[in-house]
């Protein structure tokens, strides 16, 4: 299936869970905020949230800023 991750197209195997995606990106355990199609997914739901074809996912973190 095809998704858009942080603005870039990406192909994932069908049935991928959000927690798996985060693990594969090496972001497990990091302080993140995740949105799927503009809806915030709480950390506690990563393991039970399936990624669907066409999803637009944003994975965000804190950086230096004023």
């Amino acid at each position: 299936m095809n998704i858009v991750l942080n603005g870039e197209p990406r192909t994932l195997p069908g049935g991928t869970l959000l927690a798996q995606l985060i693990h594969e990106l090496g972001l497990e355990g990091k302080r993140l905020a995740v949105e799927i199609n503009r809806e915030i997914i709480p950390r506690s739901l990563y393991a039970q949230t399936g990624v669907k074809d066409g999803d637009r996912i944003e994975i965000l973190h804190a950086i230096g800023g004023g």
Binding site: G7, L27, R31, A33, L60, A62, I63, G64, G65, G66
Partner: protein, 259 residues
Amino acid sequence: MTDPLIIAGKSYNSRLLTGTGKYKDLEETRLATEASGAEIITVAIRRTNIGQKPGEPNVLDVLPPSKYTLLPNTAGCYNVDDAVRTCRLARELLGGHDLVKLEVLGDEKTLFPDVTATLEAARILVKDGFKVMVYTNDDPIMAKRLEEIGCVAVMPLAAPIGSGLGIRNPYNILTIIENAKVPILVDAGVGTASDAAIAMELGCDGILMNTAIACAKNPVLMASAMNKAVQAGREAFLAGRVPRKRFASASSPIDGLFF
């Protein structure tokens, strides 16, 4: 002397708040932040760099929430939706943390706030349970409106963000301070230590700055200077300055002159 800054019911010893942007690297960010004495530090919320060194340290690794009060900002937001969305993401990111710095910008050249959008976003965020510290211009009426709708601190600019032009309109800042029942912090425009002292001497409750420290030739030394300037300015405000007089007033007594 205990003279805490109280924001949303929480007490802070330092009246200097610092941004964490524009530094050379995270080590410089850490050293300058420590030298500034700041307890509240701003961060921005951005996309993670997918596929690029996932093990690289993050600003929160060197400035941890256990040590600092984080103030996520809405920098880069030019409309209400983006600003509200950013604050909600920051709350999720920081595990329910609800203190935010709201800024809704109106124009890329000046980075002046869009005050009508700022007011609208502030209303939504306050209703949603956020404690909003709000960046605004030096307009006493708008500052009052933002206080009335429940912002926990109002932060007028002294000059455009990153300009280093200093306190351009001290009388408006003074009027904002005199009218306010919430802390007033100068946010943006400070260029050097004397600017910080002037703002504090006016009676500001605190100052938030980033560029003046991060873009100084020696950021760590400037952070130390700002720390002292904010404290000196505060003490001078509390002490009460002498009135300005046009002519001299001798400091040694006339009585006892022997010639």
